[in-house]
């Protein structure tokens, strides 16, 4: 029974979390490898259980009812194709992060602030995926939030991290509250909170619609949908890098799992207008996320904003799935949902890879600001090439995996003319255009991130003396890049593995992907479109080989003597190089006025003054100004008004109690 093994491993992770403080309290240097090694073992078991549940069919799936938790109801757990798929996503990321952390954790100054919470965080995420009743789901969700909050606060000496932790805690409680309300609505006044009972219950359309909105607020705030993403670019970079990789690559997927579970599985009948909301939010997140990412100078924050973009892409796919599902187009819905989940998996791979790269840069060069980096390709060659691989994958370039899933989502978008609703027929191609825009901007963003960080000459002394990191970190990154490459070249088996999931969610599946010819994948039918990552990879290899041969064989080897060219840099100072800001400037020029109200002002010193002329750029975060600032103002205003309650007389307090009692009695009298 994989589910029993999975739950035992979760218990094991919890046990490691309990033991970890004892180990760290004794200041053992072996605490770090022991804790991460144990996490590695347990998450490997969970990964295998997930794989068995996904590939092994119903023999390896099942439900389990344990008499823990709430008295009389107990706790329900289930392993079905959907939870198995996300178990694989979560634990693959966790396994690789644990490998990475065995090396990376040695650089941690205060391991006692990270080690106990790391396995607890993993246990929480796994429990969310395995839970099959609302109570267990919410408890696990909150456990996941709190343990990741503790990890965000690991370096709480920096004021920026404390602020990140506060905003994160606030948004996480808000999200859990929304989920609580959603499950309350789903279960009804006398309902059963087990998922199996919710699934069979009938839901009134307006209640179902309200559940969708609450899920978008609750799961969407955890996943990082715009405008609920504000905590994400603060909190994800604040954690240690392997935890950043888990939060960005894996925890957002757990949130997506929650959304899929409720909206596709538990709610009885979706309506077509749901797709409109999801598509708009997804497209907005994709474009706004990547626009922010292009402008960031902090490498980890850049990656966090790129997570917002990729979550948007996943939600575009889910919106498409909803649109097709409500119109009984099972094949198209299966394509959209499969592409979404595949993209979620791919994103967990390359985002972890990139965060690991950022972690290497942080430990090797001691800097996250890319304006102070440069030239690292010479000092840290392996990190550089692996980071480049991650950049290629996230930029959706063939033959890597990012291209496959985004191409599949675009294929689903091309099916939109068959939809009966005009709103969707207009909106879906528009979101396709946004997706294409986001993909193009992502490419620009990662050309900038890689080029400024690793190429050119070092911009600071720390970058000049950077050191390559240890073997564990590099090994973990090789594993991730290898899977990225395999998933890009042979995507067929991955898509086949997801067919039970789409069968469960939308009642249809993509066609079985053929091995011959050339490992190509077929989204709908062979006559429409197909793609073979293998052929593309093969041609890239052949073309590169041919080019190398041609240059080696036919180019002249004669020695020439000529005056050296200074490459246009007569001044050898690194400050004369192209900077990250200058690279982003064209994009800022185009989108800045609209998306950020960008303003450039210049101050010229008066004649005779020796001060330098300055160019000041101000970017405004409109989401913060128009959504959060008014809420903050309202809360402060209410607090100011209610402050008077602290200074009432005893008699007034008694009167308040009395009035509340009478009011409640009146309510009882009128309602009963």
């Amino acid at each position: 029974m994989p589910i029993a093994a999975a739950l035992l491993s979760v218990a094991g992770l919890a046990g490691v979390a309990v033991v970890a403080p004892i180990l760290t309290a004794r200041r053992l240097t072996s605490a770090t490898p022991v804790v991460y090694g144990a996490s590695l073992v347990f998450t490997s078991v969970l990964l295998v259980s997930g794989l068995l549940g996904l590939l092994g069919g119903s023999a390896f799936q099942g439900v389990l009812h344990l008499p823990v938790g709430l008295p009389w109801t107990g706790a329900h757990f289930a392993l079905d194709p959907l939870s198995a798929a996300f178990l694989v996503i979560v634990n693959f990321g966790a396994v690789v992060a644990s490998i990475y952390a065995i090396g990376y954790g040695a650089h941690e100054e205060e391991p006692g602030r990270v080690l106990p919470f790391y396995p607890a965080f993993l246990a929480g995420m796994n429990l969310v995926v395995l839970s099959a009743d609302a109570f267990g789901f919410l408890v696990a969700w909150e456990f996941m939030s709190l343990s990741s909050w503790a990890l965000v606060m690991a370096h709480h000496h920096e004021a920026e991290n404390r602020r990140a932790g506060f905003v994160y805690l606030l948004m996480a409680s808000f999200g859990t509250l929304m989920l609580l309300l959603a499950f309350g609505l789903l279960a009804g006044p006398d309902g059963d909170y087990a998922f199996s009972a919710i699934r069979t219950a009938e839901h009134v359309p307006w209640i179902a619609g309200l559940v969708l909105v609450l899920m978008l607020l609750g799961a969407g705030s955890k996943a990082g949908l715009v405008p609920l993403h504000v905590w994400l670019p603060l909190a994800h970079p604040a954690a240690p890098s392997h935890v950043s990789a888990l939060m960005s690559g894996v925890m957002t997927k757990v949130a997506i799992y929650g959304f899929i579970r409720v909206v596709f599985d538990l709610v009885s009948e979706p309506a077509w207008w749901w797709a409109v909301i999801v598509l708009i939010l997804g497209a907005g997140s994709a474009v706004l996320g990547v626009l922010h990412a292009v402008l960031q100078r902090d490498l980890k924050r850049l990656l966090a904003y790129s997570t917002v973009e990729n979550v948007g892409i996943v939600f575009i796919g889910l919106g498409l799935g909803l649109a097709f599902k409500t119109n009984d187009m099972a094949g198209a819905a299966a394509l959209a949902v499969t592409a979404s989940i595949f993209h979620a998996f791919n994103h967990s791979l390359f985002k972890s890879l990139l965060f690991f790269g950022a972690g290497n840069v942080l430990t090797g060069a001691g800097e996250r600001d890319i304006e102070k980096l440069g030239g690292l390709v010479h000092r840290m060659p392996e990190t550089a090439y692996l980071f480049l691989g991650g950049c290629l994958a996230i930029s959706a370039l063939p033959p890597l995996n990012g291209f496959v899933s985004e191409w599949l989502i675009l294929q689903a978008i091309l099916l939109s003319p068959d939809l009966p609703q005009w709103a969707l027929r207009f909106l879906v191609p528009a979101s396709g255009a946004m997706l294409a825009l986001a993909a193009a901007l992502a490419a620009a963003c990662f050309v900038r991130a890689f080029g400024i960080t690793f190429l050119s000459r070092p911009r600071s002394p720390t970058a000049e003396t950077a050191q390559e990191v240890g073997r564990w970190q590099i090994r973990a990154m090789y594993v991730l890049f290898g899977v990225c490459l395999v998933a890009g070249i042979f995507p067929g088996p991955f898509l086949d593995a997801l067919s039970p999931v789409s069968q469960l969610l939308v009642g249809g599946a993509m066609p079985k992907q053929p091995i011959v010819p050339h490992f190509s994948i077929i989204p709908i039918s062979e006559s429409r479109s197909s793609y073979s990552g293998f052929l593309v990879f093969f041609f890239i290899l052949m073309a590169s080989w041919a080019a190398i041969r041609v240059i080696h064989n036919f180019a002249s080897r004669a020695v020439r003597r000529a005056p050296p060219w200074d490459c246009g840099f007569p001044d050898a100072s690194p400050a004369t190089q192209y900077t990250a800001d200058s690279f982003a400037q064209p994009i800022r020029r185009v989108f800045g006025p609209l998306a950020f109200r960008a303003k450039i002002s210049q101050t010229l010193p008066p004649p005779g003054d020796m001060a330098p002329a300055r160019l000041n750029l101000t970017l405004r975060d409109l989401v913060w100004e128009f959504v959060y600032a008014p809420i903050e103002g309202a809360v402060l205003y209410a607090a100011e008004r209610l402050n008077i309650l602290q200074f009432l007389t005893i008699r007034s307090y008694l009167s308040l109690v009395f009035a509340a009692l009478v009011l409640l009695l009146v309510l009882v009298a009128t309602w009963a």
Binding site: F647, T649, R651, S652, L654, V668
Partner: protein, 220 residues
């Protein structure tokens, strides 16, 4: 006999509500203490009648406690206290007898509306006793809210506690241990409050709680 016992129980419980109303408009402290003693006497009678009807002998103990403690010891002690404090000639502005009485009537109506359907399955004695007891509790609270003098507020609190005892006896009584401990806690509360009253007067030269609020800059 069944009918008569029910009517008698109603009469006694209704008498408590009536005495509560009488307390609401007493603006002289000594008069208020006398009415409070009457309140406790009616409570004792009511509990004793319940003990007889339900043939529950331990309720006689409750009735005895009510009679001795609340009808005799506490009013007498309060009487002495008032005399020693020298406030027995004070006339307390109750804030308009008419509106207070109207509010009280509204509260009694509310408790009837709430309790009668809520306890529809209970047997008639318990049901109507509960409704009347809730009225007594609400009237006690109303008194605590409308009075400013600390002694009047104590009396309001004590009458509220009488209402609780009435409710408990209606519902087949509470265990004797609980009953006795409640009685003693009331006594202790009484002693503590009495000590505090003298301390307050020592500091502020008055037992008008408004003075305390003025001191801590409270706002109405």
């Amino acid at each position: 006999m069944e009918r008569f016992s029910l009517d008698a129980a109603h009469l006694l419980a209704g008498g408590m509500v009536l005495v509560s109303f009488m307390m609401l408009y007493q603006n002289r402290i000594l008069g208020l203490l006398n009415v409070f003693a009457a309140h406790a006497v009616v409570l004792a009678l009511s509990v004793a009648w319940q003990a007889y009807v339900q043939s529950a002998p331990h309720l006689f103990v409750t009735a005895a406690i009510a009679l001795i403690l609340k009808a005799i010891i506490i009013p007498v002690a309060l009487h002495h206290m008032v005399l020693r404090l020298g406030v027995h000639r004070d006339i307390e502005t109750v804030g308009g007898i008419g509106p207070t009485m109207l509010m009280g009537i509204g509260l009694v109506a509310l408790s009837m509306v709430v309790m009668l359907p809520a306890a529809a399955e209970a047997d008639p004695i318990a049901r109507e006793d509960l409704a009347l007891a809730l009225s007594v509790i609400l009237l006690g609270l109303l008194m605590m809210v409308t009075r400013q003098n600390a002694i009047s507020q104590i009396v309001g609190f004590m009458s509220l506690e009488n209402g609780l005892v009435l409710a408990a006896t209606g519902a087949r009584g509470m265990p004797l241990v609980v009953e006795i401990s409640v009685a003693f806690s009331v006594l202790v509360a009484f002693i503590v409050i009495g000590v505090f009253l003298f301390r307050i007067r020592e500091r502020f030269d008055t037992i008008d709680t408004q003075a305390l609020d003025d001191f801590r800059e409270g706002r109405e």
